[in-house]
């Protein structure tokens, strides 16, 4: 198991100019470490659709890498998106599920069949050629630079400690509206070459 914040510090070091989409309770730890907030979409709402949002950006800007950090409960709501991603032929999308076994955003209730399913196996079955499990930070930190350097789509399962929280409509993080507008503008300011 690893702390989400520690894993995110590793990712931030290697993200370059990638668009990053942390979903649900992953937003706060990413917000805390990110050095490129203009390229972050702090995604909440339409739970489970973060992978699909990432696919849209990846299709729209094939010159940019897109990294999605989804929750396990979220991904279970939209498992078909893994099939859609592979079927799209996209090569610049990197999906990581933060497997903590609970719905962290609603107080920590267990997900169905907790501990009895393998997201990476599911991803492989959906057609991901790269789908790996990470149980500890050192292994993830050693492997991530290689994963992000290779063509996607790439899938990874990070076994993490949950960040239990409650829904807070008045949180201090930027609203999704601002995130989307900022990233849209940042990408428009750096148009695709060719």
């Amino acid at each position: 198991m690893m702390e989400v914040s520690a894993a995110f510090e590793v990712v931030e070091r290697y993200r370059g100019d990638a668009v990053v989409i942390p979903c649900q309770t992953a937003r706060q730890p990413w917000f805390d470490v990110s050095q490129r907030p203009e390229l972050d979409i702090l995604f909440r709402g339409a739970m489970g659709k973060g992978t699909s949002l990432g696919l849209g950006i990846a299709l729209g800007r094939p010159d940019r890498k897109v990294i999605v950090f989804d929750g396990d409960g979220s991904l279970l709501m939209n498992l078909g998106s893994l099939v859609t991603i592979v079927g799209s032929g996209v090569q610049n999308l990197y999906v990581f599920v933060l497997e903590n076994g609970v719905y962290a955003g609603t107080g920590g209730q267990p997900i169905p069949n907790r501990g009895g399913l393998s997201f990476s196996t599911i991803a492989k079955g959906c057609g991901f050629s790269v789908a790996e499990d990470f149980d500890d930070l050192d292994t993830f930190a050693g492997r991530f630079p290689e994963l992000i350097a290779q063509p996607g789509p790439v899938f990874g399962t990070l076994r993490t400690h949950p960040i239990i929280s409650d829904y807070n409509p008045d949180e201090a993080m930027p609203h999704l509206f601002k995130s989307c507008a900022d990233v849209r503008q940042a990408l428009a300011d750096a148009p695709e070459e060719g």
């Binding site: 659709k49 696919l55 849209g56 299709l59 859609t84 990233v183």
Partner: protein, 178 residues
């Protein structure tokens, strides 16, 4: 079941032509009954990239991402899939506030108002509840409003639904599979 006494007159070739003329780049898509006729036309249009999905709720998210990436998507799903997609419509139009345009295959739509399919009965009330703008595409003349949908979506910050009757009432395109 569409009333045989109230025929629609929408030409599939013109549907696709108007989509292209509107500058649409991508179509996040899941077939409905009305898509049988125009699917091949969409696939054959070099200006358009189809993005097939597994479940309709994906389409709004993909479309939002495409808009963020500078593209111009049109979601294309059936009304029954729109019912399933409620939280995506909420999340990606009311949260992200980006101009979402959806072409909705209107299963069960009848012009005499006597819908005999629950999909037909509930479509318009649900769109009204979302405060979406509805544009019925009943005749070829209506298809000229397709480009207008994007301006409305941008201006209102609400989704726009282009309502297309189902395949039972759309003339078959020559050469289209069935």
């Amino acid at each position: 079941m569409v009333s045989k006494t109230h025929a629609f007159h929408v030409t599939p070739e013109k549907v696709v032509r108007k989509i292209v003329e509107a500058g649409v780049t991508h179509i996040p898509y899941l077939p409905g009954t009305e898509r049988d006729t125009i699917h091949n036309l969409l696939t054959a249009a070099p200006e358009l990239t189809l993005v097939p999905v597994c479940r309709e709720g994906e389409t709004m998210a993909i479309a939002t991402g495409l808009i963020i990436g500078g593209k111009k998507p049109m979601v294309m799903i059936q009304n029954t899939g729109m019912f399933e997609s409620g939280d995506s419509i909420r999340g990606f139009t009311y949260y992200a506030r980006l101009p979402l345009v959806m072409m909705i295959g209107y299963r069960g739509w009848v012009l005499d108002g006597q819908a005999r399919d629950s999909a037909g009965i509930y479509t318009q009330p649900i769109l009204d509840a979302w405060r979406a703008t509805s544009i019925p595409l009943v005749t070829d003349e209506d298809l000229d409003r397709i480009p207008e949908a994007y301006g409305i979506a941008e201006e209102t910050g609400r989704p726009v639904a282009l309502l297309l009757p189902d395949d039972a009432s759309v003339p078959k395109a020559s050469g289209a599979s069935s």
